[in-house]
Assembly symmetry: C2
Homo-oligomer: 253 residues x 2
């Protein structure tokens, strides 16, 4: 079932970890420089490079750490009993991975790199220690977990009541928003994931995603060239959702 590939190893490396990889924990509030130093000390200890197609973790592996994405992007998925996969989300630089592992002793999802990536390892027991010492860091960590819950509620909303067209529009707008928050263009998207993955994530079939992308292009809303999507009329894309603006189905910063 699982493709053979090199086993999961913690390849410690000397990679400088900018503050971006702690966006979720530090931002958006008043972590004092001192506390920030603590966080950076924590995260600076271990770094990993995960190549495109390799796994950061797999469902069933013992849980020990959370991971902050320094560069690159991941998809997470869950395996069904009959071996098919269900894509649960796409994570970009600054996002935190691994929270699905906290409740048990093992990770529940699997995380696979969509491109060559650099990630920071946060040993969970160290993070817990730190949150016991600093109420501010504690609160920030709790916010982070709660945000993941909200994110999921948003996706449930989408899967529960949006049409295929609305889902795809919401997906593109969400990506646009997140790219923008990272300082990239909000209208020039580079889709790192396959149409298959997009379809799976949105609860659709690849053919439907293909058709809809073509339709959006024919309507002049977007221009596609392979993995690159140019959003020509972001307002018309918003209009597909039937309301002006706001947050779509996934509020990750």
């Amino acid at each position: 079932m699982r493709p053979t590939e090199k086993p999961f190893t913690l390849t410690a490396q000397k990679v400088s970890c900018g503050r971006c990889c702690l966006r979720e924990l530090c931002a958006p509030i008043d972590v004092t420089p001192q506390q920030e130093d603590l966080l950076h000390a924590l995260v600076k200890q271990q770094h990993l490079s995960i190549r495109r197609g390799d796994h950061l973790y797999r469902g069933g592996m013992p849980f020990h750490s959370l991971f902050a994405i320094h560069t690159g992007s991941f998809k997470t998925y869950m395996l069904t009993d009959d071996g098919r996969e269900r894509v649960e989300g796409f994570y970009l630089s600054g996002d935190m991975l691994g929270m699905d592992g906290i409740s048990g002793d093992t990770y529940t999802l699997s995380a696979v790199a969509l491109e060559d990536t650099g990630i920071c390892v946060l040993p969970f027991h160290r993070l817990e220690e730190l949150t016991r010492e600093s109420p501010v860091v504690q609160r920030q960590f709790h916010r982070m977990m709660s945000r993941e819950i909200l994110r999921d509620k948003g996706i449930m909303m989408m899967l529960g009541q949006m049409t295929a067209e609305e889902r795809l529009a919401a997906f593109l707008l969400n990506l646009s928003q997140r790219y923008e928050a990272r300082g990239f263009s909000a209208t020039e998207l580079s889709l790192r994931m396959s149409r298959q993955d997009i379809a799976n994530y949105l609860g659709l079939k690849p053919e439907t995603v293909s058709r809809l992308l073509s339709r959006f292009q024919d309507d002049g809303i977007i221009a596609i060239s392979g993995k690159n999507v140019h959003i020509v009329h972001i307002d018309r894309l918003r209009a597909v959702l039937g309301f002006g603006d706001g947050i779509y189905f996934d509020q990750l910063p």
Copy 2:
């Protein structure tokens, strides 16, 4: 849009709170009696009685507490921009409510009682204090939040790739499992929520839910009488999902 009803007030009452209402925090592990006392001291402070149809909290209200359901059941929902509601979940005695409020300063969902209920209030800042003092309680709280995340991933899975028939079977089996975990019959379910709510939760239309319940009954799998469902052949209900047993789409204990 919102029906007028008595405003949200913290009607402190003298209700004895059995340990059941802290299932999520204490169970299943080794909280020492001492720590358990701390938790109970925390939770014993405030109790609420919420009548059927009344709200425990509403999206937009300032966040201050988590709530443990002592008796009764709730549904949570989110309002869409155009005022329709999306049912996010059903919560039974022992379940924890309000985690959607942690990430912001306000609750995001709304929680409405499906019957007359008794709930315990856990002021969040007190809970955070407590988790700073006790690593065991801290870990347990983190597990609880992570379990909520997993629960949502499970629902996403359902909404993303199950047929209507599978969703309804999963819903019934999930309820059965949770009733059983609370010491009730696994085969005699009393549905506290409307067909509308079930449909909305499952991403279906009420007519479809009705038809499927009738079909399950015609097939002899269940026997329905209004809100009461008797599961006649739980194995055949499991077979609808295409695999033997296990956990369905929602692992709340």
